[in-house]
Symmetry: none
Subunit: 251 residues, 2 copies
């Protein structure tokens, strides 16, 4: 359960941060990460934490979701709305089951957005899975801490539940959030160098790629392969075979 | 769902009453019954109800649990503690399943006690079933409205039955097997042209890429983006912006 972090991004109301700490602790989770909270620490947060002051006191504060997800291999974003650019979201229970399985061996995150606006498209694109809590279509917006309570409850049950099957043989070591970030930066630089991406008018290319690779659950070795390929594409055309020394590169 | 009432007995904090109304409404329940609330109505209740003012406005106030349960055939009491005099409690999910079954034909209730002291032994004795929410033994007391949220969530799922409708895909159009095959062939040709892949000794590169993209569940648009990128990489290095005519290509 130490491998699970709960990430709250851009939370407006400090009372919700405190209530989240309590919700987490009742379900056995303790690692809370706050991305740009509007007001924290705050007496309202402390009041709502009740017996979970320790979770609140240990909360980490980050300036971006990217930083908050550092070291994770899978993040589950909670969303209340279906979006144009959406992957098909999972229902909460199925999302918890996936996270529970990965948490057996690696770091994972549950990610919750702002009370009013939710997660940005860029933030969503950094999460490999999206989930919705089944709700009344006419009133689907749970209180933030209530949503955390439901997800931590589902995750606790999922983690206690079915004894996990061993990982599929041949599966490699999952890439961390940073390694995937490095790959995306490499893609971007290559696309700019090739002229495919105009840095003045970037459009949604990087968002699309980020989303694609977040969903894929990349392995470390796959990141290496793709980076090797990208590096080879940037050598002078016609140059053959890998291992050309960097002095010979055109760019 | 109209046959389900949520009963809060001797609630101390009006904010919890408002938050309960919201938790109920998000799960599709609307009948709230208050037994001797300490302070109600109250601005804090209204503030916490958010979009569930209608549930709050329609709340019934009773002077005893007996009165609150009038007309019900089964009541499920939530308790955080095992008690001397206890029936063996059910876990929340099993309790919700029983209530859902009875609610198909008759009136039922979920019953929640005071924030600090819970339900009295006399109140517990009026309920046909007792349930506990699985929790951290070292910190098992959920916030009242959070407990209502979890129970209403479980009851909603139980009443919808096990077969949840699949979430509507906001996702794009999935690529066909052939389109993914075309992308892989494009990757292969590019890797050979760049010298990354030696066609005499291909190793497992293509197998790895095939596996990666099979896992990703590519969309048509993503295939187009990746093929556009690959095409741009094969233009003479330094050439900028897409749309270069094929006559200008070096290979």
């Amino acid at each position: 359960m130490q491998r699970v972090r709960v990430v709250l991004s851009h939370t407006s109301h400090p009372g919700n941060i405190g209530a989240t700490a309590r919700a987490m602790k009742t379900m056995g989770f303790s690692r809370l990460v706050l991305v740009n909270p509007k007001t924290f620490p705050d007496p309202q947060a402390t009041a709502m934490a009740a017996g979970a002051d320790d979770v609140l006191a240990a909360a980490e504060i980050c300036s971006s979701l990217q930083e908050a997800l550092s070291g994770t291999v899978l993040a589950l974003a909670l969303t209340a709305r279906r979006r144009e650019l959406a992957l098909a979201p999972l229902w909460a229970r199925a999302g918890a089951a996936e996270i529970a399985q990965v948490a057996g061996a690696a770091e994972v995150a549950l990610v919750f957005g702002n009370e009013t606006s939710g997660l940005s498209n860029d933030e969503l694109a950094q999460c490999g899975r999206w989930a919705m809590i089944p709700a009344n279509p006419e009133c689907s917006s749970l209180n933030l801490a209530a949503a955390v309570q439901v997800m931590c409850y589902e995750l606790r049950l999922a983690m206690q539940g079915v004894t996990l099957p061993p990982p599929v043989a041949g599966a490699g070591v999952p890439a961390t959030h940073e390694e995937v970030g490095g790959l995306l930066a490499h893609f971007e630089a290559s696309a700019v160098a090739s002229g495919f991406l105009d840095p003045e008018r970037p459009g949604r290319l990087m968002l699309r790629l980020r989303r694609l690779f977040a969903r894929s659950g990349l392995e470390k070795e796959e990141v290496s392969i793709l980076r090797g390929l990208l590096a080879s594409f940037r050598q002078p055309t016609g140059k053959r075979h890998a291992g050309t020394s960097s002095a010979e590169r055109a760019d």
